[in-house]
């Protein structure tokens, strides 16, 4: 990888420790130059293209907040109509607000119609560009500026929308979740998605250091904790069926993930905060059960014999 030219150039305006800009840089290392990117309004658009500067060394377009998917569909249609499709990959990118909230309807349309595009949602779990407001992808009990923790509230009271399952329900060939805590997993899934013709959806967990209230040096560690606690399960769907999951050996309690982030810090101070943390643990337990994440120890029968 070191020999490659960075197609997402340095010098952009992302924060130190930003998981989302790491996502863009890694993405282009995987795709190479034969790609056209459409991007929704959001942090990654704003930090990368303040006119007259651009961090993009591949063709890139931004139109609006909620239309990265249909703009990509239009590009794909144009390439097909003019015989320029070749191996050019069309990739649409949006944050969780653009993808899971405001652009969800038209994303569904693009997926259902079978356009040969890859949609990647960088999921930092709130509207970070506008100042950390709650989105449909914000986890339970996270404090945001529109779901602040207060004397009578623990923060966001709804659960994270299960967007990957809804995408998989379209019967599209490939859906995956991944995390910038595991760049190799991300690269592998992007590579796999791009080898498949038709609509693909990848949701990548990525930190927002001010939005989550974390030490910028801990970005990767915290993303890994999300996976290790089953707060952010990593899996693949192919043609509507789960075909692989990232197993967890010795799953950690969610407390270890929550306590490192300011957005959950109220849970450790408020009366009954423990009960809320228990509820979050149950969400993680359900994830683990649903996807069969826990590695079951195999040594036990042998021990029994020895007795």
């Amino acid at each position: 990888m070191a020999a490659l030219e960075d197609l997402f150039a340095s010098g952009h305006r992302a924060c130190a420790g930003c998981g989302c800009s790491l996502f863009l840089k890694t993405l282009l290392n995987v795709t190479g130059p034969n790609v056209i990117i459409t991007e929704a309004t959001g942090c990654m658009e704003v930090i990368s293209t303040p006119y007259p500067e651009s961090a993009w060394k591949v063709p890139w377009i931004h139109s609006l907040f909620e239309n990265a998917a249909p703009v990509a569909a239009g590009i794909e249609a144009a390439l097909k109509a003019t015989g320029r499709k070749n191996d050019t990959k069309v990739i649409a990118i949006g944050g969780d607000g653009a993808t899971i909230d405001i652009g969800f309807g038209n994303l569904s349309g693009v997926m259902e119609r079978g356009h040969d595009i890859l949609y990647i949602c960088y999921d930092n779990e709130a509207y970070m560009n506008t100042g950390i407001q709650r989105s449909g992808s914000t986890p339970y009990d996270a404090s945001t500026t529109t779901t602040p923790a207060g004397k009578v509230s623990f923060g966001n009271q709804s659960q994270k929308k299960n967007a990957p399952a809804i995408m998989a329900a379209h019967g599209i060939p490939y859906v995956a979740t991944t995390s910038m805590g595991y760049p190799a997993d991300f690269a592998k899934k992007v590579r796999k998605a791009l080898s498949i013709e038709g609509p693909k959806y990848i949701q990548v967990h990525a930190t927002c250091t001010p939005g989550w209230g974390i030490d910028s040096a801990l970005s990767i560690e915290i993303l890994r904790l999300a996976v290790e606690t089953a707060m952010y399960p990593l899996y693949e769907y192919e043609n509507g069926e789960v075909t692989s999951v990232k197993k967890i050996k010795g799953r950690k309690p969610v407390r270890e993930y929550l306590e490192k982030q300011k957005r959950f810090s109220h849970l450790f101070k408020m009366p009954n905060g423990d009960k809320e943390i228990e509820k979050i643990q149950q969400i993680a337990d359900l994830n683990a059960k649903h996807f069969g994440l826990d590695v079951v120890e195999k040594a036990k029968p042998k021990e029994a014999k020895a007795e």
């Binding site: 130059p33 034969n34 293209t49 063709p59 890139w60 931004h62 239309n67 249909p70 144009a78």
Partner: protein, 399 residues
């Protein structure tokens, strides 16, 4: 030899779009635009529209986004919509013009909710007037078809690079059968060369489109759109004349005039009502009444100079607006007053809100409001702005 056919306005539009060889068509069905997209679907199904991707979206917002993306990829694009669909497109329409991406949208003009009405007026397009699109207005089926071809040429001109909306009255044009000369493919190919974009999304030559503009750049970017609109005044005239020479039909450039010789009262409007106005004026002229018509073909850019010139001898102008800017007046009325405000000896101007939500406009109506123009000329008291034939009997008491 040109082929004539008695066809719906919608079919004429679809035929015109076809011979312009769009690479991508995207649309969502809405009354009264549906026949256009159905006809194009049939052309695709019959293999008549080759090398064209037709994307049937889940909303007008997406249809507009699809053609925006396809235009950015450097191809010729077409869509059609109406009313609520157009309103749902508004955000994308601003974006497409701002990004200087040409393309043509046929707008089957219809009223806007609420109350729900599927019938014709001009509110959908008028409320989209500030988004940077060029707006052309057709009087009949033939002009609508011809305008589609002209619209591509205008929008793709390197001096312009803007999308163009071709307005045709819902039902009155879309669903009405008239004799139309079918555009010949070879002649259109000669008139409208393949689209050569200035920039396109291409991995061989990467560009960034749709960057963020700080206050240092935003004003200038917006000024350039305005400047292109001003340049379009010449280009619209040029293209109309070139079309006239090639196809033998010239229906005016920015405006057209009818029986303006010695006209003291002049009627101004846009769209299919011009046909009714012509019938009324014919009858009034036969009685020796000096009345003429100015038809606006280009609403944006607004033909300020052309209107000043055409209205030089007029005493009173009556503007028929099939739209209303709530809390003010009809949009064409406002614009015309603005255009003539600093002109010495300019005529008195009367505004009429008429034909909203599909209410018929008859020859008698045209004559009645022309009479108001002459009353004004004689110095009688006439209200400057009137909701024509407002039925006070069905209004609540006290209004």
């Amino acid at each position: 030899m040109a082929k004539m056919a008695v066809i719906e306005g919608s079919h004429a539009i679809a035929e015109a779009a076809k011979v312009c060889r769009p690479a991508v068509v995207s649309a969502y069905p809405i009354t009264p635009q549906t026949h256009i997209v159905e006809d194009i679907s049939q052309m695709i199904a019959d293999g008549e529209l080759m090398n064209c991707e037709y994307v049937r979206t889940e909303s007008e917002f997406s249809a507009a986004s699809v053609i925006l993306g396809a235009a950015a990829a450097g191809t010729r694009v077409f869509s059609a919509t109406s009313s609520q669909g157009a309103v749902l497109m508004y955000e994308v329409l601003f974006s497409m013009a701002g990004m200087r991406l040409p393309g043509v949208l046929a707008m089957a003009n219809r009223s806007v909710s609420s109350p729900l009405s599927i019938w014709n007026d001009h509110q959908d397009a008028i409320s989209a007037r500030d988004n940077g699109w060029i707006q052309l207005w057709a009087e009949d089926n033939q002009e609508a078809a011809d305008m589609i071809v002209q619209a591509f040429k205008i929008g793709e001109d390197r001096r312009i690079l803007l999308p163009v909306m071709v307005n045709l009255d819902g039902f009155l044009i879309t669903h009405t059968y008239e004799p139309v000369e079918i555009l010949d493919q070879n002649m259109v190919d000669e008139f409208l060369p393949p689209y050569e974009p200035l920039y396109k999304l291409d991995p061989k030559d990467p560009v960034t489109m749709g960057a963020l503009a700080q206050p240092e750049y935003y004003t200038e970017a917006r000024y350039m759109i305005h400047y292109a609109q001003l340049c379009a005044k010449d280009v619209i005239e040029e293209v109309a004349e070139e079309f006239g020479k090639k196809f033998g039909r010239y229906k005016g450039g920015l405006i057209d005039t009818y029986k303006m010789e010695g006209a003291e009262v002049v009627l101004i409007s846009m769209g299919s009502v011009i046909g009714t106005m012509k019938d009324a004026v014919d009858e009034m002229r036969a009685e020796g009444i000096p009345v003429g018509i100015v038809k606006i073909r280009s609403y944006r850019p607004f033909p300020v100079e052309a209107l000043r010139e055409a209205l030089k001898g007029a005493k009173v102008v009556c503007v028929l607006d099939k739209n209303i800017s709530m809390g003010m007046e009809g949009a064409v009325f406002t614009d015309l007053k603005a255009a003539l405000y600093n002109v010495k000896g300019s005529p008195d101007i009367l505004g009429f809100i008429i034909g909203l939500g599909g209410r018929d406009i008859t020859i008698t109506d045209i004559k009645n409001l022309t009479n108001k123009g002459f009353a004004k000329m004689r110095g009688e008291k006439v209200s400057e702005m009137e909701w024509y034939k407002l039925d006070v009997d069905i209004l609540p008491e006290g209004i």
